[in-house]
């Protein structure tokens, strides 16, 4: 299963990923694309993500910068998650939020007063698994 995480800060990303890593000990990977400048190399790296079908292995892709990468990941059945709060300028040009398929989250386990569509990290992981299962059933 691939989860695309958009986080406003590195700390938020670390918090969210550490929870996922804790839940899937030894079966989680983190693909950080921010250090690779060339888009072709980034796409090649995304194509190499192994074992996309099972829920047991979780690959977290953090902050893809272009619409092309995002489209590729969506095609692979990745669940795209955006951090709730102020959006970066990238959202006006490259990234489009799909209101029906994308999820919004806060990088905490408990948070009071959240809108109904925003998930905490534990709820987010569960929701991603349900969405991934639906995607797999549709693909069959």
């Amino acid at each position: 299963m691939i989860i695309v995480l958009y986080a406003n800060t590195g700390e938020s990303l670390k918090k969210a990923f550490s929870y996922i890593e804790h839940q899937h000990a030894g079966l989680s990977d983190h693909v950080n694309l921010s250090r690779i400048g060339d888009i072709e190399l980034r796409i090649a790296q995304l194509n190499q993500i192994p074992d996309r079908k099972t829920e047991r292995r979780v690959t977290v892709v953090s902050n893809p910068q272009t619409g092309r990468e995002l489209a590729l990941l969506r095609g692979m059945g990745a669940v795209v998650c955006h951090q709730y709060g102020a959006l970066s300028p990238l959202y006006t040009t490259e990234i489009k939020i799909s209101p029906l398929h994308d999820l919004h989250y806060v990088p905490h386990l408990t948070f009071s007063g959240l809108p109904g569509h925003v998930f905490t990290v534990d709820e987010l992981l569960s929701e991603c698994k349900v969405k991934h299962r639906k995607f797999r059933q549709r693909a069959k």
Partner: protein, 134 residues
């Protein structure tokens, strides 16, 4: 003060749910009475001992009947409640599985699981308040 009472009620409700889950599997309510308790209740020792009649007024039965009533309108919430407290075991699922695993096993997300559980708890709680158990 009200929050203290609320947390006290919550703890009692949890205890009642655990009693109910045990009762679902054993099918009995513990009726052991001490001699002092029998004297206080005004019971006679002359009766023929050993015989036992089914107990019809207990919190376990009240919870079960509340859930049966709620099942008409929200069957899934009742199933979630039964699974959460161990009154119903899902096949191939460890007893100590966490909520997320249980939710996924039942084909729902954690948020849906929590919401349905809360619905069932509220229903049972209001029913127990009416019957005077809580």
């Amino acid at each position: 003060m009200s929050s203290l009472r609320h947390s006290h009620n919550k703890a009692r409700l949890e205890r009642y749910f655990e009693q109910w889950a045990r009762w679902v599997h054993t099918g009995q309510v513990t009726t052991a009475k001490s001699i002092l308790q029998m004297i206080m209740d005004g019971d006679s020792f002359d009766r023929s001992g050993g015989g036992c009649s089914p107990i019809v007024e207990c919190v376990e039965l009240n919870i079960e009947s509340a859930l049966m009533r709620f099942m008409v309108t929200n069957k899934q919430a009742v199933t979630v409640c039964r699974v959460e407290y161990g009154a119903l075991f899902l096949p191939n699922l460890p007893i100590d599985a966490n909520r997320e695993t249980r939710a996924l096993r039942m084909g729902m997300s954690l948020r849906t699981y929590n919401r349905r559980l809360q619905d069932a708890r509220v229903c049972v709680e209001s029913s127990l308040i009416k019957t005077g158990d809580l």
